[in-house]
Structures are given as C-alpha cells and as structure tokens.
C-alpha cells in the first residue's frame, strides 16, 4: 500500500513540475500567441544552471559553486530568462511558424552544446554530484519525498496565482491584444515588440523554474533530458488542457503525464515482448495522435479560455479585479 502511495507522490511531483512548465508556455502561446518550438531549451537551461550553481565540484566541468539552494534555483530561472532575452531579441520579429522553426533550432543547438561541450556541463555524462536541499537532515525516505512534493506543489500554486493575477490585469489584456492583432494594437499606442519580448522572457523564466525543480528532483541532468520529445509533451499538455486557460494548463499536464505513464506501463505489461522494444515509439505515436485529434475536434482544449478576463460590463459593475 505504501508502495502505491509512494509511487503516486512520485507521479504527482513530476506532473506538478511539468504543470509549471505548461503554465510558462501558456503565457507565451495561450496569452500572447508566441509559438515557442524550443520549450525544452529554456527548461534545460534552468535545470543545468540550477545544478551547476547549487552542486558540488565535479572534475572536468563547470560546477561546484555550492550556492544556497533557493539562490541556485533563482540562478536557473535567470539563466533561462537571459537565454530567452537573447533569443527573443534575435527572433521575435519572426511570426508564428517562423518563430517556431527558429526556437526549435535553438533547442536542438542547446542539446548539441550540452552533449558535446564536456568542459561546460559534463557532455553526455551530464551533471551529477548535486545534493538535494534538506536531504542531509531528512534522509532519503518517504517523508522527504512527501516534503519535496509539498514544496513543488506550493511553487505550482504560487506560479498559478501569479499568472492569474497577471492575465486578469491590464498587462494580460495587452498580451491578448498583441495575440489577436498586432497592427491594431500598435495603432492604439502599444509597442508589440516590447510586449512580445516581455512575455517571452517571463514565460521562459517559468520554464526555467520548472527545469530547475526537475533537475533538483532527480539530482541529475543530462542531454537525454533536453530532447525535443519534452517540447512536444509540454505542447500536448497545453493543447489538450486548453491554451489561454491556466487551470486547463495544469489539468492538461496531469492528464497527459498520466496517459503517458499509463501507456508505458500497459505496453510493458500487456504487449508481446518483441513489441515492448518499441514502447517509446508507440508512446510518440500516441502523443502525436492526441495533439492532431485535439486540434481537429476540440482545438480550444478541454478547459477553453474564458472570454471576459479583466473587467466586466455594467451588470457586475461593483465587481473588481476578476
């Protein structure tokens, strides 16, 4: 029994970390219409930077700064944000599919850099030697995992509340206007390039936060963690959950991660042995089909975007903020 409960905690921790990433992408795509095809690069920048800044010294590559954990995590977020700022300045003039292609290229370049630059982050062997926060005091047991999950859940809730307040503000209105029609927004005195860059960097900082937590959870990150698969998984979560809706983003993360985990389990349990070799490939087909199916039959997602976000008209004129 404790085994199942223990596994559920493990599952919920991973799903919550991914949900934070989906929230970051939702700010970029759902609210601002920025097609980030390189989600994993910003997620990975957060993971690598957190482990390098917070970890012990490792022979042969950058690391061993041993920073106090919250500072290391903030450093991970800053690294993702800095990368987004540079990429943003170079690519945000690009629209839609061109931005997607450019950012996808950035993510592939990032993975290649991590795989080959051993002096930087250990190359294919990845970054190890990271001590998870408070582990020395609490040990490796169930209690620690529960506490870690509680910490991740708190950060997920804080991220959700931050974004909910942001999208319900005039800033959120501005993001949606840029998403809907840049020329019209510019004719009303708004600066589309500034808004796009702000949203891109902020969303990437949140992706970096998720990546930092992910690296912390496994106390390890390697190029295998920054493959394009993760970009597609995070996109599937947003599309299924409902782009433009933060609750949908979280719901989609749990649903898709659940489906991914269950399908892996079912294939390994029930499929013939020779098919099991291809479990990963079957899962890719599955996730691809889910994305295509959703886009065809329910493009707004399971929890669609709410229309009136910042202010209502007369009947509710006493209402504020929501």
């Amino acid at each position: 029994m404790i085994g199942i409960f223990s596994y559920l905690i493990f599952f919920a921790t991973t799903a919550s970390i991914l949900a934070i990433a989906v929230l970051g992408l939702n700010l970029q795509w759902g609210n601002t219409g920025l097609f980030n095809g390189g989600v994993v690069a910003f997620f990975g920048a957060g993971a690598y930077a957190t482990l390098i800044l917070g970890g012990t010294a490792q022979a042969g590559h950058l690391g061993g700064f041993g920073l106090f954990y919250p500072l290391a995590l903030l450093g991970g977020m800053a690294a993702a944000g800095l990368m987004a700022w540079i990429v943003g300045l170079l690519t945000l003039r690009l629209r839609h599919d061109y931005l997607a292609i450019a950012t996808f290229g950035v993510a592939v370049a990032f993975e290649n850099l991590m795989r080959n630059a051993e002096w930087l982050a250990g190359g294919a062997k990845g970054v190890r030697g990271f001590e998870r926060p408070l582990r020395a005091a609490l040990g490796d047991g169930f209690a620690y995992n529960l506490l870690f999950f509680a910490g991740v859940l708190l950060i997920l809730i804080a991220t959700y509340l931050f974004l909910e307040r942001l999208v319900a503000s005039p800033f959120g209105r501005l993001l949606r206007a840029i998403r809907e029609d840049e020329a019209a927004a510019a004719s009303l005195g708004k600066s589309p390039s500034k808004v796009r860059l702000t949203a891109f960097v902020t969303g990437s900082v949140i992706l970096g936060l998720a990546g930092g937590l992910y690296g912390t959870f496994y106390a390890f990150v390697s190029p295998q963690d920054v493959l394009p698969t993760l970009t597609f998984q995070i996109w599937a979560m947003l599309i299924v959950g409902g782009a433009g809706n933060n609750r949908g983003a979280i719901f989609g993360a749990f649903l898709i991660w659940g489906a991914w985990t269950l399908s892996g389990w079912a294939l390994s349990r029930f499929a013939p042995v020779d098919v099991q070799l291809y479990t990963g490939s079957f899962q890719f087909i599955l996730i691809g089909s889910v994305i295509v199916g959703m886009l065809m039959w329910r493009p707004q997602g399971l929890l669609p975007e709410r229309l009136v976000v910042s202010q209502r008209g007369k009947p509710q004129s006493t209402q504020q903020g929501e």
Partner: protein
C-alpha cells in the same frame, strides 16, 4: 483662417518602379471633415499608410500640429493624438467588446509586468475609471449592450463602431477613417456618420478616405482628390462636383469595385 492640423510636404513613396504616391503636398484644416477621394489605384491607401506610420515615405515630410512626425511608428502617433480605423475592421476577436475599448488608454499603471503587483491599489482605481469611460464611449457608439460580447462575433458595421470607440479612448485630435462606409449596412452607416458628425461638431478633425463619391460629397468638406499618386483637386465639395478634371479621373479610369 487657415489653421492646418496635418500638413504633408512633397510626400513620395514608390514600390519598385511604380510611384504610388508622387509628390503629395496637402493640408488638413483643424476642425474640418476632410474627404480624400480617388479611383482605385490612385494612391489613397498608400497615402493613408504614410500618414498613419504603417509605411515610411521615400521623400517628404508630415507635420501634425506643427511638429514633424515623418516616419514615426503607429504606436507613437496615437500618443500624439492621431487615431485611425481600418478599411477591413481589426477587432481583437477573442476579447470582449469592453476589453477591446479598455485596452486603448496609454500608460496604464497595470500595463507593465510589475504594475499589477506593486501598484495594485492605483491599478484598481484606474481600472474602474477606465471602465466607466469605456462604458460611456460604448454607449455613445450604441454598443453599450454588447460590452461583454466577443468582439469577433459582432457584425462588420458594429466592428467599425467598435474601432471608433477604441480610438476615442485616446482623446485624439485627429481621426483618420479608412472607408468607413464600405461593406456596412445603411442603418449602421447612418449611425456611424451621425456619431462622426457629432464628434466633429465638438472639435475633432476627421480625414475620411472613401471610394464612394456620393458619400464624400454628402458628408465631407473640403475634398481632396488623388489620381495616379498625385493631388488633382483640393477644394469644397461644391467645387468638386463642378470640376471636370475630377469627373474625368473617376469616369475615365476603370472602376472595379
């Protein structure tokens, strides 16, 4: 007597070898309802884009209220008091009508990423002020009942009224309207022109680009006519009706819509 709010000097803009706007110098008088007409391909839209910052001129200058605005981007022009609408309406479709209008005021406290967190009280006070003004403006353009509707689901004519409402939130001194009557049912056109004339009486200057000559003759004075990228006529609408060059330009050129 002459008190121009908008002046252009020798504006030129070519696309390849084609001179879309060729040495256009004109003046729009403050408080006027100036009509800009011309057959298809006369350069109206290019001139409009040069005035609103969507295109930059090859040569020439534009002055608004005595200040040089040549080549300024559209967002800066709105801050200078120049508003515009679009020939094909551009609502923020997946936003409510009210939110479309509330977007427009410039320099809102909550419009930056930190504002909603650092200046929450000020932001809410400002939001309630902006909402009241937005609802007033929506009532003025007869869209008050549609405040919570998705802007993408109202009619084309209502979208034109919505664009006017958005622009009015910036209290512009000059509004450029790109074919306000095109593709709109006659009842809404009458509403729209009624509101425009009311604003004009209150002192807002309008420049109306219109293909429909009858519309311009009925509602605009003075009239500026373009043909082949050049100004061929500037005068009152009565003079325009009696001007043979102008009629030639219209009747002589192929009209396809």
């Amino acid at each position: 007597m002459a008190d121009p709010i908008l002046v252009t000097q020798g504006l030129c803009r070519s696309f390849g070898n084609f001179k879309a706007v060729d040495d256009v110098s004109l003046a729009v008088q403050r408080g006027s309802m100036t009509g800009l007409i011309g057959p298809n391909g006369a350069g109206k839209s290019t001139l409009f884009n040069l005035l609103t910052g969507a295109l930059k001129p090859d040569v020439g200058a534009v002055q608004l209220d005595g200040q040089d605005i040549t080549g300024l981007s559209p967002n800066k022009l709105f801050a200078r008091g120049l508003g515009r609408t679009f020939q094909i309406p551009r609502p923020f479709a997946r936003m409510s009508v009210l939110e479309n209008v509330m977007l427009a005021p410039m320099g809102q406290v909550g419009e930056t990423i930190t504002g909603p967190f650092l200046f929450r009280g000020r932001m809410q006070a400002e939001e309630s002020r902006i909402r009241d003004k937005a609802l007033d403006v929506l009532d003025f353009v007869t869209l008050g009942a549609l405040a919570d509707h998705p802007a993408g689901q109202i009619s084309g004519g209502q979208m034109k009224l919505l664009e006017l409402a958005r622009v009015l939130m910036g209290d512009p001194q000059l509004i450029l309207l790109d074919e306000p009557a095109a593709g709109v049912n006659p009842v809404l056109t009458a509403t729209l022109i009624g509101k425009i004339e009311e604003l004009n009486r209150q002192g807002t200057t309008f420049v109306i680009i219109e293909h429909d000559m009858d519309f311009v003759m009925q509602h605009c004075d003075p009239v500026i006519a373009l043909a082949e990228g050049r100004v061929i006529f500037e005068g009152t609408s009565a003079e325009a009706l009696a001007n043979p060059t102008l009629l030639d330009a219209y009747l002589g050129a192929p009209m396809d819509g």
